[in-house]
Structures are given as structure tokens and as C-alpha cells.
Amino acid sequence: MQIIRRFRFIFLAALTLAIAVMVANCGGSPETTTSTPADEAAAPAATGALVYGAGGQPVNLNPGNITDGNSIVAQTQIYDRLVGTEPGTTELAPGLAEDWSASDDSLTWTFNLREGVKFHDGTDFNAEAVVFNVNRWWDPEFEYGYRAEGNLYEIWTDLFGGFKGDEASTITDVRAADEYTVEFELAQPFAAFPAAIASGYFGIASPTAIQEAGANYGTPSGTAVGTGPFVFEEWRSGDRITFSKYADYWDEGMPKVEQLVISFVEDPAARLAQLRAGTLDFTVDLTPDQLPEIESDPNLEALYRPSFNVGYLALNPAYEPLAKPEVRQAIAQAINKAAIVDAFWGDLGETDPHFTPPSLKEFQSEGIEDYKYDPEAAKQALAEAGYPDGFPLDLWYMPVSRPYFPNPKPIAEAFAAELSQIGIQVNLQTKDWGAYLEDRNTPPGFQSFMLGWTGDYGDPDNFLYAHFGPGATQDLGDYQDPEMFDLLNKARVASETSEREALYQELDQLLHDKALRIPIVHSQPLLAKRTSIEGWEPSPLGSEAFTTIEKS
């Protein structure tokens, strides 16, 4: 009795354990072994393979059929583009094409391809392969585009006006002039064409692999075959993609690691924890408040990706008080941009008077001085414009976080506080993201709103035409300005770089004076790596091939 009394709780525990196992077995589990993890299961230090922590899994590995950053990063490892960029800049560099040039009328672009390059499946890279890839993106009738199965290639129309047969299509023909020469015919001159085709969306894939895989190409259960530094091995949905080094890569000596793993970790806090634990070697898109933690860990190092975005405050001239440029300028003057950027971004953001990011400096007018923060002068200007008592203003802030506006609401509140000083009664507004995007384009649109843009390719056209060009001013009450349109169109077709620079500089000044979309910030995404990683040079364009990275 005494003995039993003493041990009764042990008996009880044993009994309930037995019940537990029985109940669990009823659930039909095939592996209800007593799962007491062994001590030897210590944190596996990832030896050898280079492990990158992505903010999510790619949408697909099908070039041209993506718009998101995670897909571009993964595709950049597998595919080369016709034109590449110099590491850490937006400057164009040879890719699969060794050089390129435009005809005198700027309507024909000729790309001379690298010879002797092979796809990972052993097939030859040549002009026919390029034409095949371009036709997938451009020609809705092309047999191997698999549009009926859901491929949209919407980014193509973003960058090149439209698909084959559309009136707005930038290109009218693509052909293989000989085995290693590709020619594009354009409907009108487009000076940024090589930069646009160099954007991360347009990797060149093996036509043979695409034909064999069909609509399955680039999905987790399919294949992905390019000429790039890494060979695609396996994609475990929701988990990781594994790659191995492409031994015959044309850029000799690259890549420097044998194996690459892209691990999908959506949560920034989890990414940083994994980096600190050593199961990730390098990662991206951390939040500004994680910077102190990175800096406190001696095994980690913080990096900034050069900015290639803009967060702006749009002032819609369709709203009567904002129709006068003086009023818009007064608003620009009343907002203390430097203080706001310092408060919300710290080292991760900078403010300047240009709509284009700093990496496109040669296209900016050096002479512009930003509106000096001066609420008194702003109030004065407002009075002279006929609004001595200010006016009510709806200011819309985004309901979601974006790199250019990580927390829109408090930023909007800061704007509102500044504007109230000059008598403008700000009414903060927001709505569901889809409705927000849609309604700003529905006349009369929002009176003022926050939004931003991350560039696709290293040319000011991608920033300026997309926001101030004909058809791009719907959210500014369909604002028409012949002078602005004229400059944009001229810069678009000019063939000489110096001429384009001059035109864009002139436009830069004009946009500053108009104060339609006031550039608030160019933010730098926060990245981090372990100190054992060397040779990572982040590109402003948001992705880079991990060829030069070494792991010790």
C-alpha cells in the first residue's frame, strides 16, 4: 500500500502515456514512435553550401512571367540576360550579348551574342534561342507561350508597351540575322531599350527544356534551364530551392561556391534569428528596427542596398486649391522632409529634390536646391495664392507597408501636423489596398496621396515616363502638360547619352517646380550577412547573381 501510494503518480503518468499513444494511434498517425529527439541533433552548421534567406518563395522560374523580387533573385542565379549590369550599379555590362548598337534611325537594335555558350541541358545558346524567348513574352500566338494555361507575361506590356499586334507595342519584329546576331525592330525609337531588356525579368531559357516541360516549365515540379552560374536542382514547395555550380559557366572562375540554397523565410524576425543561428549565410529585406540587433552580433554585418525607389506625396491639381503651382510649392516647403526621413528611416533613407533615385545621378539637375523647410514662408505663399486661412485637404495613406513607406500612417500623421501649421486642415484617409490603387485613378481621384515606385531597370525613363508621361497622370486628374510630355518623349527617343542627360536634367528642374509628386524619400533596403561570407555586392536593381560570393 505504502509503496503503491508512493509511486502512484508514476503509475498514473505511465497510464496516461499509454492512453495518449492509443488516442494518437486512433488518429491514424504512421509515425507515433516515442519521439524524444536525440542529443546529437545540434544545430547543423551549414557547411559548404551557401544559404540565402529569401523573403518568400518565387512565384515561378519562368522568365518574363513574373513581377516579384523573390522570383527575380532565384531566376538571376539560373539565367543570364542579354545585357547585364556592372556589380553594385545600374550601368549596363555585357551579358549574353557581348555588345549592342542602334541603327542611325534608332529603330533597329542589333545584339552580338557571346559564342560557345551552352545551356545547362547541353543545348546551344544562339540567336534562335533568343528569338524563341522573346516570342514567348511578346507574341500571344506563339506556340510555346502557354498562355491558355495561365502565363500572363504582364511585365512585358509594362516595359514594352504591348504584345505583338497591339498598336502600342514598342517592338515590331525580332529576328536572328545570323547564328550569333539578333535584331529587334522598334515602332519608335526607345533609347532605354537595352536597359529594359537587361531587367531581371528577362532571363534567357533553354528552348528545348521549355518545349519538353510544356506549361509545367518553371513550376516546383518542373524544370528551369538557363545558361547562368547555377544549375537548378530541386524546388521543395514552401521550403527551399537547391542549386549546384554550373561548371561550364562562360564567366570563368565563377561562381565561387559549389552549392547554393535559397531558403524561404517570410518573417523578417525569423530570418534574422536564422542568420544569427548560422542556418542562413545572408539575407535581405530586414526592417530598420532590426539594425541594432545586427550590429550587436559580432558574427553579423549589416549592408545597405543602394536605393532604387522613391516614396512620394502626390498633389492632385484637379482639386481646386492644388491647381496653383504656388500652393503645391508651399506644401513642399511646409514639410520638413529631412526630419521626417531621419525619424522614420534613420540611415536607411535619404531625401533629395529628385524623383529619380541617386543611382541615376547623371540624369539629375545638380543645380536644384530642395524647398527649404520654412513654415512661415509657406504660410505667406499660401496667403498670396488666395488661401490666407488654408483649406481642407484629404490626404490618403497606404494601408500596407512598402519599402518606400514602411509605416505609412505615422508618416502621414507627421505630414498632417506640418501642414496644419500653415492652416491646411488635413483629413487622413485610407482604404483597402486594392480599392486604394483603383480609386486614385477614378476621376476626380484623391486630393493628395502617398505612393511610391521601385524601378525595373537602370534608366530614368522607367521612373519618369511611368509617372509623368501621357496616360500616366490619371491619378493627377489627367494632368496635361505639353512641355513635360515633350521633354519625356524627346528623352525617350534621343540616341546620344549626353543629349538624354541634358533633357532629363531639364525635366528634373521642371518637375521640381511643378511639385506634383513631391519626392519624400529614397530608401535603402537593409541586408545582413554573416562575417564568413565575402564578395557580396548588392545591386540597386534588387537582385544580383551570387557568383562572386565566397564562404569560409
Partner: protein
């Protein structure tokens, strides 16, 4: 019995219909055009139109619902707008990860929760009881997200005993070839014990995190059920007959206290099997929960829709099983 099960299965029809209607309504009645929301800040009206057409958003709402329902009946949950992968296929790929995690979490919760509850009941109002009950209150109310990160920092970053996340390590992952997708099972049948220990070590932290809530609830329910049973006349009779206290508790009391406990086990297990969005996200666990989270991030409507329906159906089915199991546990319950 057979008739009862059939009846219960038939009752599922209106329940599932209700779920499908709710899921459909949530996604279509929230403000903003799904196509615009999905394509984001750079979509042109043409692209939006193409996507609207593809998603069938141009049809009248009732027709859209009927089409959706028709597909549902054929187990066609559609395909992800972004990846083009059929929803059913994605569930097949992701569910084994969620299943393994759920089973281990439930085991931890049962093995710890029931004894804690029993002890607390037997030693009512003792220190043991107070500690157990306040501990379980903490377990129920602790945010999973926070607890998960805490465990990662303690065991993976500082002590380096366990891996912080994922299902399998990078190196082991290269050589390990899954067959069924149930990694523990796959490693066992291949006799790959190196992989097995690696997989189990990856399971432990998320399972612990996930088990806290069911554990705490189980402990509390077991305690209150035991207290009620222990005050019954037949317990007094048993004691009066001179039955050992151990057998009074283990046989007479515990078995009869199990009924409400089983109900909770079913509810909790059903919830777990549907995937835990926060835990799976924190631990990069490639299961159903993380998949739904990915779908929400991308605003991939078919994924969110399919995911929610799957979760609901699993929940309903597990609870059906629980109801049926009552008959075995309590002979007084008769099914007609």
C-alpha cells in the same frame, strides 16, 4: 451505428455549404477589386481586365459562386493565380509537414497535459494545483509568435542545441530523398537515422511552441472533469469498498472523466491539422499554415480560399470522428 455515421455525414453537407459561402463572400465582398489588389501598384487597366476575365470576376456574383461550388464538388479548388500550381496538389505537398507537426504537438500536450490535470485535481488547492493552473493560464495566454521567437533565441541562437527552423538541415537535405512527404516516416522506412534525428530535432521547437495552448487547455479541462467525477457517489462507493486509491483514480475516475477531454482533444487536434499560421511562419515550417500565409502575402485569392476550405473541412471531419468515438468510451451514449 452505421446509420448514425451516415446521418452525421449528411449533416456535413449544409455545414460545408455554409463554409463555402462564407469563404466566397469574404473574398468577394471586401472592398477593392481582387484583380487590382493582386496585381498591385503597377498594374495597367488591360492587365487587370485580363486577370478579371481569367478569375471569372466579370460574371455576376451568384454565377461565380455556383461555378466555384461546382468545382468544389469535383474537388477542384482551382489553381494558384501566381504559381499556376493546382491547389489540391499544393495541399498534398504541404500537408504532411503540418501533419507531423500536429501529431507531435498533440502528443506533447497529451503526455503532459492529462497528468498535470489529474494531479491538480487529486491535490486540489495544493501548491501543485496552484502552480499547474497558473502555469496553464500562462500557456493559454502567451502569444505563440513571441514564445516561438523566444525558444529560437534560447535554443538555437544562444545555446545552439537545436536548429532554429525548417524541416531538415541543408546538408542532410541534400542526401535525404522524401518518398511520401512524411519525413519521419520516410526516414524510418529508409533506415536513415542520421536524417531521422535531424528531422526530429527540427520538429521539437515548433512542436513545443504549438503544444502550449492545447496542453494548457487539456490540463484545465482534465482537472475540472476529474473534480466533478471524484465527487460522484460511485467514487465514494469504490473507496468504501476498499479499492486502492490508485485504481479509484486511474480506473473509476479518469476513464469517466475522459469524455470532455476527448472533445477538447478533437477540437485542438482538428485545429492543429489545419496548420498553424503563426508557428509555421516563425519556424519556416513548409506546411499548410505557412502556405496560407504566403497566399495572403501575395494576395493569391484561390490559395487563401482553398486553404481556408481545407482547414474547415479537416476541422469538421476530425470532430465527426470525435463524436463517433464517444460511443466507444461511454456505453451510455447510444446512436440511433
Amino acid at each position: 451505428m452505421g446509420r448514425y455515421i451516415l446521418g452525421r455525414l449528411l449533416q456535413l453537407v449544409p455545414v460545408l455549404l455554409g463554409i463555402s459561402l462564407l469563404v466566397f463572400a469574404f473574398l468577394h465582398l471586401i472592398p477593392g477589386d481582387p484583380a487590382v489588389t493582386m496585381l498591385g501598384d503597377r498594374a495597367t487597366p488591360d492587365q487587370v481586365e485580363v486577370l478579371r476575365e481569367r478569375m471569372g470576376l466579370n460574371e455576376p456574383l451568384p454565377l461565380q459562386y455556383l461555378a466555384f461550388l461546382g468545382n468544389l464538388l469535383r474537388f477542384d479548388l482551382g489553381t494558384s493565380i501566381f504559381t499556376g500550381v493546382p491547389i489540391i496538389e499544393e495541399i498534398r505537398l504541404r500537408w504532411p509537414a503540418t501533419f507531423e507537426l500536429s501529431v507531435l504537438s498533440m502528443l506533447i500536450a497529451l503526455v503532459l497535459g492529462i497528468p498535470i490535470g489529474v494531479i491538480a485535481a487529486v491535490r486540489k488547492n495544493s501548491i501543485v494545483d496552484n502552480v499547474a493552473m497558473s502555469g496553464s493560464l500562462l500557456g493559454v495566454s502567451m502569444p505563440v509568435y513571441w514564445l516561438g521567437l523566444l525558444l529560437i533565441y534560447l535554443f538555437a541562437v544562444n545555446l545552439q542545441w537545436l536548429p532554429p527552423s525548417g524541416r531538415i538541415g541543408v546538408d542532410v537535405g541534400y542526401s535525404f530523398k522524401p518518398i511520401t512527404g512524411f519525413f519521419v516516416f520516410d526516414a524510418l522506412i529508409q533506415g536513415d537515422f542520421k536524417a531521422l534525428s535531424n528531422i526530429l530535432s527540427h520538429l521539437l521547437l515548433p512542436a513545443l511552441t504549438l503544444s502550449t495552448i492545447p496542453l494548457a487547455i487539456l490540463a484545465r479541462i482534465t482537472r475540472s472533469a476529474m473534480l466533478e467525477v471524484l465527487s460522484q457517489d460511485y467514487i465514494r462507493t469504490a473507496r468504501a469498498k476498499g479499492v486502492l486509491e490508485f485504481w479509484v483514480i486511474a480506473k473509476h475516475a479518469l476513464k469517466n472523466a475522459m469524455l470532455p477531454v476527448i472533445t477538447i482533444v478533437g477540437l485542438e487536434f482538428g485545429t492543429l491539422l489545419g496548420g498553424a499560421i503563426l508557428t509555421e511562419t516563425i519556424f519556416s515550417w513548409p506546411g499548410i499554415g505557412k502556405w496560407i500565409y504566403e497566399g495572403i502575402l501575395l494576395r493569391d485569392y484561390p490559395v487563401v480560399q482553398g486553404g481556408v476550405i481545407f482547414v474547415a473541412v479537416v476541422f469538421v471531419l476530425v470532430n465527426l470522428l470525435v463524436d463517433i468515438s464517444y460511443a466507444f468510451l461511454d456505453p451510455r451514449i447510444q446512436y440511433k
